[in-house]
């Protein structure tokens, strides 16, 4: 019995491999398309540091103090692309057109105020329409202005006769240093690129599995498929999925080589947890794909549904926009996507180097999704055997 089952699985797998090899579109879905997009991301994220953002500086004072501040702005790596402009009106035009991301205004009484002991005001007008450039450029401007301000304060205190230490304590009683835990590089490629790569893996898992079953329904070849596995539904499913799963895991390996080999992202935790995690993740999306085919009984509709489900995972995972900032009614939805669990596992293992058992919960949650099609086995069998489900578009 066991032997018969296994040879059925092997036969179904062999049949599926031939289907993949003989169908250009199938080969594209399961291999070439995801691989191309994965490589596209590799090029996209190949720049190691974010280039200097364009910022306008309007120096209305043009004194030697204000020039010193401007030179400090040039010295920051975030905003070294500086457009020095004569007046705010011209700067505003550039900001509206999107040629600069913000404007630093140094008022004309800048030096006068500093020299007479009054506070000078420096304003950074940021467009705010791009949250990522906003925080980067603001950080650059703030660093330059703060460094400049502390310098002046120290000079003042020393002129007044204070020792350097005392001067520091007077200007800033409590000093602070900020540390970026777990990702001290604050590097985009280490952080954002894996999120996108894993998205491609799950889209690929979803689409290729739906494609594999959907094309059988469409071509009315389900009975032939079932027969290849000696009539066993489970055998037919396992045999069909096996070659796809193998290719998906290979794609995941390519992504792993890119992240850790080419980009040299740090790996702080356990390899085996990450590897088990990604394998289960891809199985989970295959399982959801089967489930979608079963409940919709339609190739096209399950493609639409599965496509939407896999694409939306990014937003509802909290990787860019954190879960805790979401509406409280929306927050539970994040649990409906295996991607969410995997990204937590990835961050825990690769980025934070947490203990391996902290990730067991995520693996277990993803395994629940793998069980999903068991609920729909009866329905799947009906689909494969009843003529009325075949050949539908």
């Amino acid at each position: 019995m066991c032997h018969r089952f296994l040879s059925g699985v092997v036969a179904a797998a062999r049949r599926e491999t031939e289907r993949i090899l003989s169908n250009r579109e199938y080969r594209a879905v399961v291999w070439w398309l995801p691989l191309s997009i994965i490589l596209f991301f590799a090029i996209f994220f190949s720049k190691e540091v974010v280039g200097a953002l364009p910022v306008a500086v309007v120096d209305e004072d043009n004194s030697h103090l204000s020039r010193r501040l401007v030179s400090m702005l040039y010295a920051t790596h975030e905003i070294a692309d500086i457009h020095e402009l004569a007046d705010m009106f011209v700067a505003r035009e550039l900001l509206l057109g999107g040629e600069v991301v913000g404007i630093v205004e140094i008022p004309d009484d800048f030096a006068k105020n500093i020299l007479s002991g009054v506070s000078a005001e420096v304003v950074y007008y940021d467009s705010g329409t791009n949250v990522s450039t906003s925080s980067l450029s603001a950080k650059g401007v703030q660093t330059a202005v703060t460094t400049f301000g502390v310098g002046v304060a120290l000079q003042r205190a020393e002129i007044a006769g204070a020792m350097p230490d005392e001067a520091m304590a007077q200007a800033m009683p409590i000093a602070f240093s900020t540390y970026a835990l777990f990702n001290p590089w604050l590097n985009y490629a280490y952080y954002v690129a894996p999120c996108f790569w894993v998205m491609i893996l799950i889209i690929s898992s979803m689409l290729s599995t739906i494609y594999a079953v959907g094309t059988e329904l469409r071509g009315a070849t389900t009975v032939e498929w079932l027969r290849s596995a000696d009539g066993s539904l489970l055998g037919a499913l396992l045999g069909k999925l096996a070659p796809i799963t193998t290719l998906l895991w290979l794609l995941a390996a390519v992504v792993g080589v890119l992240i850790f080999g080419v980009y040299e992202a740090p790996m702080q935790g356990r390899w085996w947890v990450l590897i088990v995690g990604v394998m289960v993740l891809l199985l989970a999306y295959q399982a959801v794909a089967l489930f979608f085919v079963a409940i919709t009984a339609s190739f096209r509709l399950s493609l639409s549904l599965g496509g939407g489900y896999s694409v939306l995972a990014f937003t509802f995972s909290g990787v860019t926009f954190p879960t805790m900032a979401m509406f409280s009614a929306v927050r539970p939805l994040t649990k409906l996507f295996p991607y969410t669990y995997f990204m937590e596992l990835y961050i825990d293992q690769a980025v934070r180097g947490s203990a391996w058992w902290l990730s067991l919960w995520e693996v277990a949650s993803m395994l629940l999704f793998v069980l999903l099609p068991l609920l729909a086995l009866g329905r799947l069998r009906k689909l494969l055997l009843k003529r009325k489900f075949w050949g539908r578009l």
Partner: protein
């Protein structure tokens, strides 16, 4: 001429009929924009991260207590735990109970009273960028506020050499949805047009049906009109009703908006006809095009700035209609720019309309 116009009309109505008689196409061309638009808007609906939980380690004495209160009062962070041990703080971080730690020096009170400088370490969890930013900004602002209070107490006045201020002109609270949704809505339009038109084209080819005209020009114009009519309504709804519901910025005049959206829709619909000719089976367009949503978003330079990726990719990405359109749309609607500010993007969009128009003519010529 009369013949030509009646051909256009017949093609348009036939295309319109093909859309509405096919539930798969209706789902993509009509409803997907609402489904995705609303889902994404809900996902980003919280807009800003507030009161991120942090732990304070090593609080002792009156000044430490006051600093803790100041930290807690910040809108960006909330002191969820007060601990004496860094090890406990690490556990909380790893279990995602806190997203940052503010570690006070043990001698904080003595140092301040003796006029020495004291040090505070702000540790933010950088495995989530947004959370890291809130923790760093919130804690720094609270410490600066505390410094001011100490200096005022000592000297009676606080007069720093420079008062620095940042004003976010067009997105005052730096909301996330305000940032990404304008781009996402336009991108959903592009994806649904490309996939939907591809589905209609391939279905027609599969069934061996032809449009009621021989003239490629009449076919192209007629099909374009059919989709323009649909998207004028659905996208119009998204950009007015949906926009107001979620409080997205609407700083442009209606005619400025039309000046951006009209050439964009034209370019996308024409491109979709050109691409649609490549598909043999009705499901093919989903299978081939679904992948492109993230690359299209990235290459537009809207989520990550163009300075973050290779310039040649950015330049190459300009052939995708959404790239120039999203730039122009955000300039007009989010920043309140004038048409002359976005002249380069409009020129590019118009060139794309011509380019894809020619390709669509070619695609509609080959007997389907």
């Amino acid at each position: 001429m009369r013949r030509f116009i009646s051909d256009i009309w017949r093609v348009a109505t036939e295309e319109w009929r093909s859309v509405w008689h096919d539930e798969g196409v209706v789902l993509i061309v009509v409803f997907a924009l609402f489904i995705y638009g609303i889902s994404y808007s809900l996902g980003y609906g919280g807009e800003v991260l507030e009161e991120v939980p942090v732990a304070v380690v090593g609080r002792q004495g009156g000044i430490g207590r006051k600093l803790t209160r100041t930290l807690d009062a910040s809108p960006k962070i909330e002191v969820a735990y007060e601990l004496s041990d860094m090890g406990d703080a690490e556990q909380l971080l790893r279990n995602r109970k806190v997203w940052g730690v503010v570690a006070l020096s043990a001698d904080l009170d003595e140092d301040i009273l003796a006029g020495r400088q004291s040090r505070v370490a702000i540790l933010g969890d950088a495995s989530y960028f947004l959370a890291y930013r809130e923790v760093a900004e919130g804690a720094v602002a609270a410490i600066q506020q505390m410094n001011e209070a100490i200096i005022v107490q000592r000297n009676g006045v606080y007069r720093p050499p420079i008062v620095y201020e940042q004003r976010n002109l067009f997105n005052p609270s730096l909301g996330y949805g305000v940032f990404v949704m304008p781009a996402i809505i336009l991108l959903i339009v592009q994806q649904t047009v490309l996939i939907g038109v591809g589905m209609v084209s391939a279905t027609r080819r599969e069934r061996g049906v032809h449009l009621p005209s021989q003239s490629p020009l009449a076919i192209t114009v007629g099909r374009t009109l059919a989709y323009l009519a649909i998207y004028a309504v659905t996208l119009g709804f998204m950009l007015t009703v949906h926009y107001s519901l979620f409080d997205y910025p609407m700083r442009g005049e209606w005619w400025q908006c039309v000046a951006v959206v009209a050439p964009y829709l034209l370019a996308v619909i024409l491109l979709a006809q050109a691409v649609g000719a490549l598909f043999r089976r009705r499901e093919s367009s989903i299978v081939w095009l679904l992948w492109l949503s993230i690359p299209f978003l990235l290459i537009s330079g809207v989520s990550l700035p163009p300075q973050a990726f290779p310039q040649w990719l950015y330049v190459l990405g300009r052939v995708v209609p959404s790239s120039a359109a999203v730039d122009a749309w955000i300039a007009i609607q989010s920043r309140g720019a004038s048409l002359s500010d976005i002249a380069p993007q409009l020129m590019l969009l118009c060139s794309l309309v011509i380019l894809y128009g020619l390709l669509a003519l070619r695609a509609n010529k080959t007997p389907s």
